[in-house]
Amino acid sequence: MRTIICGVDRSPGARVALRVAAGLATELDARLVAVHVLDRVADIEASAERTAASLLYDEIPDIAAEVRGEVGDVAERLAAVAREEDAMMIVLGARSRGRSRSFLRARCAGELSELTSAPVLVAPLQLAAMPTTPSNTATIRGGPR
């Protein structure tokens, strides 16, 4: 079965990424695995899993998805999970860092694309302004049909 990996944290961009990933996973009949990576030594993987699970519950409560918690460098861990799961795609959210640092917006995606052969999808922050109503989720999934 095909697998889509979605890197999640509590940022608005990651929430958008989760919704986009869920829409694609449903249409492609793929497994969705949400991965939260903690880079602090004090944190433990169970806590990362809890974070990912709560994000799933908040954003896509009706979609079946799995969670994984990882500790380490974000790009490296996501690439490793994508390799383990033989992922068809990795989905990430964009980050807003202000105009002067806008080139950093997709820094993780840039690092990740150096480490993995799976295509990296970056969900735009502009979609974060849309509330998570069913109709808007459908818009993200399919656009006007």
Partner: protein, 170 residues
């Protein structure tokens, strides 16, 4: 005051023996836009786009962005360079269309002129694209087309990159 003759005029314009025209709403499917340029990275983007479009049952639009020849050399040189650029664009688009056709995905090709990052984003916005697929090559910081598209597109962008898979140790 003169009487308004609107009912009489409308009857004259639409006689009773002619069927009334109705306008059915047009169906619109947001396409996947894939940028191609014939490079190795573009080939990976092409494969990704075709697989994805087939999976989500969406048409594909391949775009090739040419810079446009400089005009200060005069008409004959301009024309020669323009012809070369168009031929190069067809060489990139035709195989892409053939791949999509063999996968059963409806596809079309467009040749655009200008800055690639700006034109790809504008085109995707104009066509209401659902996703954009671009290939990625190693470039200096700030010169990457894929990063530029990520910043300006306002819709999900897939960056596909060719990487040699690690070979298993014997």
């Amino acid at each position: 005051m003169t009487a308004v003759a609107t009912p009489a005029r409308s009857e004259a314009l639409a006689p009773a023996d002619q069927p009334e025209k109705t306008f059915a709403p047009q169906t619109f499917t947001a396409p996947v836009v894939a940028a191609v340029d014939g490079s190795a990275a573009s080939t990976v983007a092409l494969d990704t786009a075709v697989r994805l479009a087939a999976g989500i049952n969406t048409p594909l639009v391949f775009v090739y962005v040419r810079r446009g020849p400089a005009g200060f050399f005069g008409a004959p040189v301009y024309q020669r360079r323009l012809t070369k650029e168009m031929a190069r664009a067809r060489r990139a688009l035709d195989p892409a269309l053939a791949v999509a056709d063999s996968a059963g995905v409806p596809a079309e090709g467009e040749i655009l002129e200008g800055s690639p990052r700006r034109r790809i984003s504008e085109f995707a916005r104009d066509r209401g694209a659902r996703l954009i697929v671009v290939g990625s090559r190693r470039r200096k910081l700030g010169q990457s087309v894929s990063t530029g598209v990520l910043r300006t597109a306002g819709r999900p962008v897939i960056v596909a990159r060719s990487m040699p898979r690690p070979t298993a140790a014997a």
